[in-house]
Amino acid sequence: MPEPIRLTIDGRSVEVEPGTLVIEAARRVGIKIPSFCYYEGLSLAGACRMCLVEVEKMPKLQTACTLAAAPGMVVRTDTPQVAEARRAMVEFLLTNHPLDCPVCDKGGECELQDMAFRYGAAESRYREAKHHVPEQQWSPVVYYDRPRCILCYRCVRVCDEGMGVGALGVVNRGGRSEIAPNRGDHLECDECGACIDICPVGALTSGMYRYHTRPWEMAHIGTICAFCADGCKTTLGVYHNRIIRGNNRDRSGLNGEFLCIKGRYAADFPHHAERLSSPLVRRDGRLVRATWAEALALVESRFREALASGAPIGIIGSNHTTNEENYYLQKLARQGLRTPHLDHPRTGDLPALMAAVAGREAALARIEDLYAARAVLVAGADLAQQHPLLSWQIRANWRHHQARVYVVSCGPVREDRYAARSVRVAAGRELEGILGLEESLRTEPELVVVFGEAIQGEQVARLVAFGDSLGIPVKYVCLVDYANSRGAADMGLLPDLGPGYQPLERSGMALDEMLECADLAVLWIVGANPLAGGVRPPARFLVVQDLFLTDTARRADVVLPAASAYEKEGTVTNVCGEVQRLRGAVSVAGAKTDLEIFTLLARRLGLETGPVTWEKLLDEISSSVPGYQVSAAALRAGVPQQVRPPRQASPSRRGKVRSARDTLFTSGTLGRYAAILSAVREAPGELYRG
């Protein structure tokens, strides 16, 4: 540890580590130095000049955002000269500003408004004509209003450094300078909206939010993004029971401020016109609306017939339902309906990894490890497309800590740009590619291995054995596709494994087998769409529980409208095994949560007597599921909890693992119902494949 540095700020003594900037040192002791261009985590600019402070023995005011603390330095932020400088900077920033706050989307959460309020003068002396530039639409997501722009370059830097995209630049010069998109008059990028959220003023606004509402008119509900498995926290802005936007400006959650287009702008799917609002039953070959009582009665009777006759029942679970729902479903299936035929669309071979690292607490990487590890290996995955948070973390690790990044993939990936080594392999040869890196990997002090579906089955055990042979600490991330893919496997929605990857005495049919089995009396598909584009499975009776009339639901005998992740409480587990709490943001008339549907059916079948709540189920999970011995109380309070690998675990020997290979702009079936994802025009990955 280097010697700390002691300096004085406004008469208060502060101790910081060498290299700390004065603006950060001040913050440690609660002294706020205003700034626009300074942004933690991004490169320094020194452009806005808001953070000028007095420093003893320096004749000029200094920018606190670029000045490193030095021993004995005496800084003053509370002098008339500093106040005058701040007042002047606000005045400069407002000279060409349109002052259209009453109609600006940023009103109420605008940093320029706040600064003008705190540090500005009561009136402006600027009487000259303002230079007007018409607003520009750069994409369905991004709009730019130059006169509002204060040129802090946060957007340019977050796009280039944070996202690794570099789609924004600065054109012209002097007072005519403006931010410009990478394709002349429009943007081709990740459409993540990071530039919009990071904009301190109303210069960059989103097509989803603009002119809809004011910030103070919305309810703000922090929950977990419903799409990929990374588990980003998103704060949904809800106005009149509609989700208008998502953001994470408070940097809470394991994603900090990161969100992709899905987390920010794709949360409108609950309000899609095709959302199911009533159960449907098949009459005369057509699905027609029915009451819940009618639909549930029909399902009940079919289950009763099957139970009475001993005909098999098949159940396919979901990658989107909560841990509590999944746990309850497997219990209902195995103990209530007494069927072993349970599976879910598996997108990564989690059981194989859990079996290989069983009992090794340090073998599973967390999201934060991707930012901290000295070396990261990404194999068989295009993280920028499928796991944008992981991609962000690794990129930040490289920028801030010079982490060494290794890539083994079939095609170009964004990580190539800064990878220490990039290896291209034919599909299916990923493991060989990794083994070929042995010499380099051996020189690393530690390693995190992130691998996709390309490595599954026996190969996972070989990968872990290879990791062990390196003689360095190695952690793993087995990539899976969706918001609770991890939880579905952890909770035992598998044909031969129960919760916590515990082997079952009696294994059942896997998903593909169920879809081909003519003996099934009932096939119950919960929140999954395995029949996309296919034919009706031969099961005698098909029950589908979903948000929309998917290809699978269309073929059902009974369709039960379910609530989405944004309409319910519970927990989900992300790709790295972090369990987080969902909070209901809106309610959609006619739909019921999956848990409610399960319990209604269970009650009808006489399998459930008491009330079932997600909190009670969470308690049960945390006391009984191997690896899930986490604090349920903390989770209920919104603090993420890390699960561990079970002490013993088995691989699954039945069924298949297939990733949907989504892109930034697709997300299985769910993605089709988010308007923005089909509105953007980019070819995913074009930016680094070009």
């Binding site: 000049r49 000279t95 060409n96 002097g174 007072g175 300078s177």
Partner: protein, 434 residues
């Protein structure tokens, strides 16, 4: 561009080849002690070279006046990175046209200065960043570089010494800001001319992120005589702490405008009245900007001053780039100030707030005043905006705009007030009656 003979008051050192036939050719150069200083430097250690430059009290001729020897000594000798020499030939400060003559009439002295710097810091390559408008000089320099290569003064194993060094010209394309050393380096790397955050300074991280010596053309041209005749001899030509001669470009209302090489510390009034032949048409001197348009203006009565960095600082102005702009009694100070501020507004790179917004604001208000469309309070706005820019911008361009703005209104306030009150411009009155 040259007067047939140097003025008797001139000390021709850097300009001594200007009037020779084919002065730009290497033959002329070699016939007049050309590359002798470099030969001498080859026999010296790097430390000795830097010591000699330090002794000369040579201070940067671009405008800031930083001691050259000290600047060279900041280059880390042991850095494993390649090192670069960069000549700032982006002469753009209004009132300044001296480097143009040095490159036109004596390009080899620039190359020799760069060679000696390369020897002192161990550089392998050098660039001459030259403003795009000076295309004909690029051609002259390219010819000189080619000549020097052919004669073995550039390239590999120079004069059998084992030293490798080559020089390349690099054209700008219209940006005053690129005269600022870090903006120049950005431009050299194919980017917008936006200055870099310092530290790190170019001496440790300059061109291509490598240690770099960056000096003005005239600074490099002063190096060969310093090495050849010794630092002390050069220093003695000037005043204490302000070594040597300086090329002064005298423009505006004088009878003999031109570029003159005079000792540091030469009296400004003498320069105007004696060297430059006095004020045009026998008119009265009104004001002088002594070091290029960014320097605070001096009233006539303030002009009895020695032209060196320290004396001008005491007089409330600066030596800057040595561009002496002389204004007679018919000059409208509002018009002059407005023109200068329009220039800075045009050239502000726009990166930082106070410069981007301040230059535009000042130019707009001063232009209104010039047109007789002033409003009460305008003068205070100009003073105040300038004060709010001064010392608070990212790079010195903000100061370069603020200093003339505030000095013009403060020193010629009555003239600005007359414009504000709709009275006839006092300067025009003089012009009519003159």
């Amino acid at each position: 561009m040259l007067h047939p003979e140097p003025h008797p008051a001139e000390v021709v050192l850097l300009t001594r080849r200007f009037r020779l036939r084919d002065s730009a050719s290497i033959d002329t150069y070699l016939a007049t002690e050309g590359y002798q200083a470099f030969r001498k430097a080859l026999a010296m250690t790097p430390e000795e070279i830097i010591e000699e430059v330090k002794k000369s009290n040579l201070r940067g001729r671009g405008g800031a006046g930083f001691p050259t020897g000290l600047k060279w000594s900041f280059v880390p000798r042991n850095s494993p990175k390649p090192k670069y020499i960069v000549a700032n030939a982006d002469e753009g400060e209004p009132g300044t046209c001296k480097d143009r003559l040095l490159m036109q009439y004596d390009p080899h002295s620039l190359l020799e200065g760069m060679l000696i710097a390369a020897r002192a810091v161990g550089a392998r390559a050098g660039y001459i960043y030259i403003r795009g408008e000076y295309r004909y000089l690029i051609e002259i320099l390219d010819r000189a570089i080619e000549e020097a290569r052919r004669r073995g003064f550039l390239g590999r194993n120079i004069l059998g010494s084992g030293m490798d060094f080559d020089v390349y010209t690099h054209s700008g394309a219209g940006s005053y800001e690129c005269g600022e050393e870090t903006a120049l380096l950005e431009s050299l790397e194919g980017k917008r001319g936006v200055p870099r955050l310092r530290p790190p300074f170019p001496a440790t991280s300059g061109a291509f992120g490598c240690p770099t010596v960056l000096n003005n053309v005239e600074t490099f041209c002063a190096v060969p005589p310093i090495i050849l005749k010794g630092g002390l001899a050069f220093a003695e030509l000037g005043t204490p702490k302000n070594g040597g001669t300086r090329l002064f470009a005298i423009s505006g209302h004088v009878n003999r405008p031109g570029v003159y090489e005079l000792p540091m510390g030469f009296n400004l009034l003498r320069m105007i009245h004696e060297v430059a032949g006095g004020v045009r048409g026998g008119r009265k001197l009104k004001a002088v900007i002594p070091g290029g348009s960014s320097c605070p203006v001096l009233r006539a009565e303030e002009c009895d001053v020695a032209m060196d960095f320290d004396s001008l600082a005491r007089a409330g102005s600066m030596l800057g780039s040595g561009g002496v702009i002389v204004m007679d009694e018919t000059t409208c100070m509002v018009k002059a100030a407005a023109r200068i501020l329009r220039f800075y507004a045009h050239e502000s790179c726009g990166f930082c707030t106070p410069c981007r917004e301040g230059t535009r604001w000042l130019a707009t208000v001063l232009t209104r005043l010039e047109r007789g469309e002033g409003q009460p309070g305008d003068i205070e706005v100009v003073r105040n905006v300038a004060r709010n820019m001064l010392g608070r911008t990212f790079c010195p361009l903000g100061d370069a705009a603020a200093m003339p703005a505030s000095s013009f209104v403060e020193k010629f306030r009555e003239e600005f007030e007359a414009h504000l009150e709709g009275k006839p411009c006092p300067a025009e009155e003089v012009a009519i009656h003159a």
